[in-house]
């Protein structure tokens, strides 16, 4: 089908089996990303964002066994159940990854040039020499000055912002159709966060890639994403176009998150308005709405059964909160 989205995740559930416990960090989540589109996945730390994006691609650390169900279709292919060698061909080549911490994402004892060039060798069948040339191009593309010198350096010789640019260059080296950026700015200095974000957005538009931007910061989403999925405790709380969700958030959790964004009119040094309470520790799936203990609108039925994602009147925004959907909470 010509119209099929590049990535379509439906009803994805991930169970992590570890020596200590079994947990379900992703519980029946669905979303789609089309070519050239950017989807933001927002939620507090520990809500399952990383697992949701990495587990289907076989990128979990050692020591855990993952068990997947549901469907993840990428470029018309079902990823769940695909054998590891096949998934490996997709990683790097069709999907590029950017990690949260550029300090540890690069190999400390290998030259930067090699770490970028090997991608071109592997995925574009380039000779080492051609790959080096491509690495140079890429480093220029991500806006690094004195690129040829940088290629000969080691990661510890660069600042965090530069390293993240190198990670981005590496992710682009295979000419991917989709970029998955897992909190790409969280570990960086506040001053460079905006630069990196702008760079990513710019590259995504210029190269017409799809992008999944994972973040815990609502403030990042506004200019960057087309659609948004708000995650809470392994589930999608709200999903829809950014302009709608940001302007008229409906789910109580989304409202809380947006209220927590520092505003310009805040007096300097005023207290950070985080959400009251802490997110739950994940384990077995929750009965009912996981947000109930922190929710101002909670009613007894909230904990009875899982609130389904229900489309709004115009069918664009989906909210998993019966209280809101039935119009009982004042918007």
């Amino acid at each position: 089908m010509h119209d099929e989205p590049l990535l379509s995740v439906s009803n994805l559930t991930v169970d992590l089996l570890t020596a200590k416990s079994a947990i379900r960090p992703v519980d029946g989540v669905s979303y789609t990303v089309r070519q050239g589109e950017c989807l933001a996945i927002v939620g507090e730390s520990g809500s399952g964002k990383t697992v949701m994006n990495f587990a289907p691609l076989g990128l979990m650390p050692t020591g855990v066994t993952t068990s997947l169900s549901g469907s993840v279709r990428f470029g018309g292919r079902e990823l769940i159940g695909l054998p590891e060698p096949e998934i490996r061909k997709i990683r790097g080549k069709s999907i590029g990854f950017i990690f949260q911490d550029p300090m540890s994402a690069l190999n400390p004892v290998r030259r930067i040039g090699r770490q970028i060039a090997e991608m071109a060798e592997l995925h574009l069948n380039m000779t080492p020499r051609a790959a080096e040339a491509r690495a140079l191009e890429l480093v220029k593309l991500v806006g690094i000055s004195d690129p040829s010198a940088r290629l000969r350096q080691y990661p510890h010789e660069l600042s965090g912002g530069l390293r993240q640019r190198i990670v981005i260059a590496t992710a682009l080296a295979g000419e991917p159709k989709l970029l998955i950026a897992d909190e790409p700015t969280t570990a960086l200095d506040v001053t460079v966060q905006a630069q990196i974000l702008r760079l990513l957005k710019d590259l995504q538009r210029r190269l017409n890639m799809a992008m999944v931007l994972i973040t815990h910061d609502m403030g990042v989403v506004a200019g960057a994403a087309d659609n948004i999925v708000v995650m809470y405790a392994a589930r999608a709380a709200e999903r829809g176009p950014v302009d709608k969700v940001l302007v008229t958030p409906r789910h109580p959790y989304t409202r809380g998150l947006i209220n927590a964004i520092p505003k310009r009119e805040d007096p300097i040094g005023s207290q950070f308005r985080g959400l009251p309470g802490i997110p739950p520790t994940l384990g077995a799936p929750f009965k009912g709405c996981a947000f109930a203990p922190r929710c101002d609108f909670a009613v007894p039925t909230c904990t009875a059964s899982r609130p389904p994602l229900v489309p709004s009147a115009d069918g664009s925004v989906f909210v998993a909160c019966p209280v809101v959907n039935e119009g009982r909470a004042a918007a």
Binding site: N11, T13, D15, L17, T18, A19, S21, A22, R24, D27, G28, V29, S30, P61, T62, G63, V64, T65, S67, S69, G70, R235, A236, A284, P285, S305, R306, P308, L309, F318, A320
Partner: protein
């Protein structure tokens, strides 16, 4: 009884082989005099170098002594000398380590420099040098090995002591004006001893090797006291005709050391995540299956 529970819980984390072998070694060593079927030093030259028989289950050595009895008594020799070495070494090490960790500053620097030098010289060479000066003998051996061994426990106890001293409740005690003695004997020392004991047990295998090696060289346990290394060297001239007498003590010693080393390895590898065992995985899968699937999102 309840006090024993955490101990059992801790033991459960170690490989069972290690615990069985170590338990066997300690039991054999402790009860050796009652377990040995015959007098280990009773010679009978007419019955030298015999193969296994009803009278001598593992045969006899070239002097006609019962090999099984000698192997069993040797466990006792080994256990006692290794125990003495480790206790002396740990006492010195813990003392030096806790002092360094308590005082920090130049005392710490000086002691740790000494520990570094001690650790950089192979323990066999240190021990032999001491024996070279003082002359061979049982207690020379024990002291020489203790001298070679204390730097290890010194380093560990210093690390433990430093971490204990930086804990908030110690800081609070200090501010409240608790006497240094109370901090040292009430908190620092007990905490350190426990941690060092585990490492010392894991290190006992190497100490057993050292005792056997010195005895093999004729500078440790002296005949007629049976000891594995010394039994082996005694039988070496008859290697061609009677290899059993060489192999048996070697195997006994190796088995004991394997037990201790398995323990040490388990401790060292604790921090690396391992894939789940099949049983564990099955259990987790059942757990997950029980969660079922609620209605999910469109």
């Amino acid at each position: 009884m309840n006090k024993l529970k955490p101990i059992f819980a801790r033991l459960n984390k170690f490989p069972r082989v290690a615990l069985v072998v170590i338990g066997l070694f300690v039991a054999l060593g402790t009860f050796a005099p009652w377990l040995a079927p015959q007098d280990p030093s009773a010679q009978n030259l007419l019955q030298g170098g015999l193969g296994p028989s009803v009278a001598h289950w593992l045969g006899t050595d070239h002097l006609g002594r019962d090999t099984l009895s000698r192997l069993i008594i040797a466990a006792n020799t080994s256990l006692v000398s290794v125990g003495s070495v480790l206790i002396i070494a740990m006492t010195i090490g813990i003392l030096m380590g806790t002092i360094a960790g308590y005082h920090r500053g130049w005392v710490d620097d000086l002691l740790m420099r000494v520990v570094d030098v001690g650790l950089s010289i192979p323990s066999l060479i240190t021990a032999l040098a001491v024996i070279g000066i003082v002359g061979p003998g049982y207690w020379t051996m024990v002291l020489a090995l203790a001298l070679a061994w204390w730097p290890m426990s010194g380093r560990i106890s210093r690390a433990v002591a430093v971490s204990i001293m930086s804990k908030p409740h110690i800081e609070a005690l200090r501010v409240l004006g608790a006497s240094p003695w109370r901090i040292y004997f009430g908190h620092l020392l007990p905490g350190t001893i426990g941690a060092v004991m585990v490492y010392a047990t894991a290190d006992a295998g190497t100490a057993a090797l050292a005792v056997a090696t010195l005895s093999f060289l004729g500078l440790g346990i002296q005949p007629p006291t049976p000891e594995w290394g010394q039994m082996l060297v005694d039988a070496l001239p008859y290697l061609e005709s009677d290899p059993r007498q060489v192999i048996l003590p070697g195997l006994a010693l190796t088995a004991a050391v394997i037990g201790f080393n398995t323990l040490g390895e388990a401790i060292a590898l604790n921090r690396i995540p391992k894939p789940l065992t099949r049983r564990m995985l099955a259990m987790r899968r059942i757990e997950v299956a029980g969660w079922g699937k609620e209605n999910s999102d469109a």
